[in-house]
Amino acid sequence: MAYRPVIGARTFRRVRAGSGRTSSTWRAKQILATLIVVGSLSSLTVGGTFALLNSQESNALSFVSSGTLTFGNVVNAGTSCFSYGAGSTANVNSACDALFTSATQNYPGVPVTAKVTITNNGSLDASDLSVYMPSCTNTVTPGAPAPGGGDPCAAGGAELYIQETNSSGSPQTCWFLGSSPCPFATSSLNLFSANASTPATALDLGAGPAAGKSRYFIIGMELPSNASNTLQGQAAQFGLTWHITS
């Protein structure tokens, strides 16, 4: 029995001699080295699979919707012409009914009127309503036998007013030209076409209509009672453009 440890010791000594390690620390180092390797592998390769706790929520389906700003334009008892309707482009409709036609002959001192109802059928209030006259063109009345050659669009020509009323037609505000109820003023058509011919120079009619509400206007036209014969057989061709903004 005493011999065996000597053999074993030799064996261990051989190993020791080859490695230069003592038997008591060699195993410990082997174990530690193994642990280091395992630890390193865990750290380097398994780290990503550790499930750190987390929690998550989503506020889904939040939404924002824009309103609409559209309106209808009715001349007298006609049908509504909508800004977005037939004949329109990008919420601009240039094909609404005319206020007056050449079928109605005008005589000096005899007024003609047209009622215009502006109804906001959008969902947003209009912060402003304005109106302008892009052009006023002098033409010959169709079929006139002896046009006088004068210009109703020029100074001394036709007269215009824009009167706001309530829904019953009672005058409320004279927007152009003078105090309510609007009078006919000399050269007023010329004044309006010259000074309110673009969106930038449009006549400001104040706020509104609010969503779902209407505003009512009467457009008056007249040849001056002292009109000369030069205005016979002549026609003023113009349009009024109504504009609302949110």
Binding site: L52, N54, S62, V64, S65, S66, L69, T70, G122
Partner: protein, 429 residues
Amino acid sequence: MTELKKLLLGLMLFGAVTYFGGGGAFASFSAETSNNGSSVASGTLTMSDSVNGGSGCLTVTTSNNVNPACAAALSLTNVAPGAFGGVGTVAIQNTGSLDASKLSFWASSVNATLNGPLTAGVAVGALTVSGLEGTVASGDTITVTYGTNSDTFVANGAGASASNGDTSIPVVSHAPVSPYAIGATVTDTSSNAGASNTDCYDVKTTVGVGSSTKGTDLSFNPIAGNPLCAKMLIYVQEITGGKNYCWLGNGVGTAMCTAPISVNLSAPLSTGSPITSLPVTSLNGNVKSGDSIVVSSGSNTQTFTVAPSSNAYYNATSITVNSQTPNFAYPTTSTVTDFSTLGTLNSDASDTLTNFDTVHGAGGLIFTAPLLGNGSIDTNAPVQLGHSGSGSDTRTFVVGLYMPAPTGQNQNPLQGLKSTFGITWHIDQ
């Protein structure tokens, strides 16, 4: 016999002797203690999401601690350009027992809910979904998740669009490994890469206000390209504990987002003497020193200037202004508007919902370090949302939207549109 075998044999003999014969060798006196019943319990990390003080939307009610269906942060209708849009307040609470080292938010990915079950091993060429939010582009990676199960599909064909009302996402034929029930979460993990596949999407409104016109009545408001998403401005302002910080939007990184207000006077103004403070109803935005504040009542208006070093934040009830005598006895119905803020936002084309999606999607998280004060954050704080009951378990954010009115630009193409989007909040241990 090898040395090892000898060693093992020796050990066996020693063990046997010890077991069978050694027992009697113990002294007749003995003592022993046991610490039985020791246990280890894991903590919890769960959260609640409450909008405008409503009941909390919990993650603990879900199968995987992820709740994709909390209340909408905002539901705004009939918005006009250049006018106050609206805000929603989102309170994020840690309802768990563990601190969260991180609290982040980002633009939700395109998502939906599975509306037709999937069977394990059975290939499908389309996913039937409901509540699709956003646009799925062909080639996108679609992940279906339920509990701990997850499978990945690849969108095919023309993809799918919530704008078109799609309820099916065509995919390259694939057999899922796991079964998925109706209600499983469907996520497009490739989304928000560009304007063509954002979570935010537009449709035309189908209902007006009363009998007013609606989006579907109009022909000049196309939805291609999600134009309202591309214009609407978003901001996220934290207001936790009265401290303020702008995490997203115009003013990001400062104490206050450029956030419009829409309030009234809380007390009338009198014309007798100068005033240095405007009493207002609780602010729903921010007011910066030097801003022009317009008080209006009918045709009466007056502009006040916010005094130096007198920022007024969300929830403030007064605005300190340079001394000025009111030009009218403004009643409490008078409106108070910050025109400086509107001017700034009207020229902002960057802080849009579309950019929120593409810049701050799942790859662009916004981590929210705790606030130290107005405009000051603690980037080194180890905890961003304390455990339940810690006193720091809740943080409150205001999410706002504004529809700008750029000078000289007609906004008619944006009439009658509806943008839908999502925000995701996340905490980590």
